[in-house]
Symmetry: C2
Subunit: 419 residues, 2 copies
């Protein structure tokens, strides 16, 4: 009896952490006025293959789990939460714009199995649809920033604007930009030499490559770029980014401009951002996003333009970054009666009424077996109730870490457990 | 562009309510020492069709969405959370018993579409695996009771024990019990006459039917039954139920014995319970569950016996019962600048820092359009910031319900919004 290939269970000790992450983020979304939306796990295959979404030829669609219902209708499991959002907006023409929402849930990719990559994984997205104002971009990035603040993770948020990079490439005489962007995006990882080599391998010539690095070499600031970028699209990108930076400063959100940041997804059209841990073992990005002004409109068809901006938290890398700091079990105390089952139920319910997460001995095991069980569950305290305790109207309170025991009134136990 | 047949979106105003229900229940589960578990949406088809689970011939399996991965492995979408629990327990032989957990998430049935029934719906289950102690049954029912307390729903929890009903049927000379149980389970809905008619139609003879009603007619109490039930299994059921009732009384949980209560699922072996609203439009059950001592062991094979007891909250009927009492939007205030975009960002972030869910004008719409937007979102207050307000270092605070406006300091606004 096994799980399906490429998926996994999230056992309690891990799911508690996941819930903490998710609840923290939900609180931030609420504070920033992003209400929740829940779309189904199942979508029509035609929705997921619509142009503007993944498109018929995309990798995501190739890796989509496809099936039929009893009526032979073609269905599929969603591969992200953005296409369902576009579908929701399309189906609800009376929505007033801007439409803000967050959604979190499982998405599915029937792809190759690698370390840390599963065929079913959670996404956690916030998006604002229907405005091209940089205020919306600033707000999304502010949510991301506040999310990591509250999670207690020290991160750097790198931002860029796709138009700047595209403009620079145009200025350097490069027509086929997608491949160049993929290479330049690796600047932080593989350095200038690495990028030059890759650009060369991807068929760009020396003149083009040196023209690019004339502009983006060294420590590139937005002010510095202004003297170098002459291309119209590039200038527009810098204006947008300047406006965004201004709003973020006002909102007290720290970000770092990175001219090489592109993000893989082809559908980004303006602002892009990506979040990394400042220090620590997790080097992959913890969150990312950007502006995608074409996708929703393309999806709806009819020449509609529906600008949008969004961000996505990577729950798995965030959990990896937090892993060591969280408690295994939320239960605070385990009640263990010795020939006092019914009386112990009074104690159990009083503890719960006082708001203290409590478990108790359900079986007929002996004291040592039950202590072993409480220890295995990682419950930090045990209350033992036997004849002696009942007579004295007290309980024996055992600290499972130090092993010390005290005879206490229940009131004092509650005080201790609340402290 | 449409949703797949039989599934639906949960729009923000509904999802906010769902989150409130779910968060309330999570809090109770934590208090009662049930940690969370998350199993995948996708399972192997062989797992879902294993004997002891749904079994190859069950309705649930017939209605299972089936598909394959790229490696032609047979997969399926889970139709409940109990089979995945059994699979999890089987895959983790080192789990110490009893194993308590809750799980909530989407399950899927490719069945006929009826009102209030969708092909993808949430289940919310708590279960205790690995003990036959009635303490576990009592704890599960206590969780259910506390859940409805906290949701503010006035419910009756009906309890019974399958062994009692089975024993009574045996005593009445009935061999084929499943059909009889299905009919008797309707006693509350269709009355004695209706049940007699149905039993007759299902092929039970007059003598059998009157023998049953000799025992269960009128207001049946557990004490009253003791003089009538002679069958060994029935007596065992009454002993178990007596023990359960005793524990529940001690835990201050009110329940009502109902000898006709059976619950549809064939796999229940002892305790069964079902929760109904005392008054109100929602007449379907809001929660239910019971003891299933055979299923997990059968599932594991090898003649293992793994007793288990669990309960399930019906999120959809609970939301229907609560519907009218909940707010549409959690956002408390909408900030609307007039030529004061940047200054308004200070106000927005200060409100959020003070813990007040805040949205603001993202586009370049005029004042009346923005007020309309805030009203449409159901946000109860709007803060207007223009030249006048900036000069006076105050904001214009508008109550969207009464339409009244006051010039206030931000500090006073925070006080008001927190009140």
């Amino acid at each position: 009896m096994q799980t399906a290939r490429g998926v996994r269970d999230i056992p309690p000790e891990e799911k508690i952490l996941k819930n903490q992450v998710v609840d923290t983020l939900k609180e931030v979304f609420k504070l920033y006025g992003f209400p929740p939306l829940e779309t189904p796990t199942i979508e029509r295959l035609e929705t997921l293959s619509a142009k503007g979404g993944a498109g018929e030829e995309s990798d995501a669609l190739k890796e989509t789990f496809k099936f039929q219902d009893q009526g032979k209708r073609k269905l599929a499991l969603r591969f992200d939460l953005t296409v369902p959002l576009a579908r929701f907006v399309t189906m609800n023409p009376n929505l007033k714009m801007p439409f803000k929402r967050y959604e979190m849930g499982s998405v599915f990719r029937d792809g190759p199995i690698k370390l840390g990559r599963t065929r079913e994984f959670w996404q956690c997205d916030i998006d604002t649809v229907g405005t091209n104002s940089m205020l919306a971009d600033a707000e999304v990035i502010a949510v991301i920033s506040e999310g990591f603040n509250r999670l207690g993770l020290d991160v750097v948020i790198k931002v860029n604007n796709r138009k700047i990079l595209t403009g620079i490439l145009e200025q350097a005489g490069i027509k086929e930009k997608e491949n160049a962007i993929i290479a330049i995006d690796k600047l932080d990882k593989i350095g200038k030499e690495g990028v030059c080599k890759e650009l060369n391998e991807r068929g760009y010539n020396k003149k083009q490559i040196s023209a690019v690095f004339d502009i983006i070499d060294g420590k590139v600031t937005l002010t510095g770029l202004k003297t170098k970028v002459k291309n119209e699209l590039g200038i527009q990108g810098m204006t947008e980014l300047g406006e965004l930076m201004n709003y973020l400063k006002r909102m007290k959100v720290q970000v770092k401009f990175d001219v090489s940041l592109a993000r893989g997804l082809a559908y980004y059209t303006g602002t892009v951002f990506e979040v990394f841990l400042k220090k620590g073992e997790v080097t992959s990005s913890l969150a990312g996003g950007g502006r995608y002004d074409d996708m929703v409109g393309n999806f709806m068809g009819g020449g509609r333009v529906i600008p949008a901006v969004g961000g996505s938290f990577g729950i798995v890398p965030i959990m990896a970054a937090l892993k060591k700091t969280v408690q295994r079990m939320s239960t605070k105390v385990f009640v263990l009666p010795i020939n006092a089952t019914e009386e112990s139920l009074d104690v159990v319910q009083q503890l719960r009424t006082a708001g203290i997460p409590t478990s108790f001995a359900l079986g007929k095991k002996g004291v040592s077996k039950n202590l072993e069980y409480a220890n295995y569950l990682g419950i930090p305290f045990v209350i033992i109730i036997g004849e002696n305790e009942l007579q004295k109207k007290k309980v024996l309170f055992r600290d499972m870490i130090t092993g010390t025991e005290q005879l206490l009134s229940l009131k004092d136990v509650v005080k201790k457990l609340r402290a």
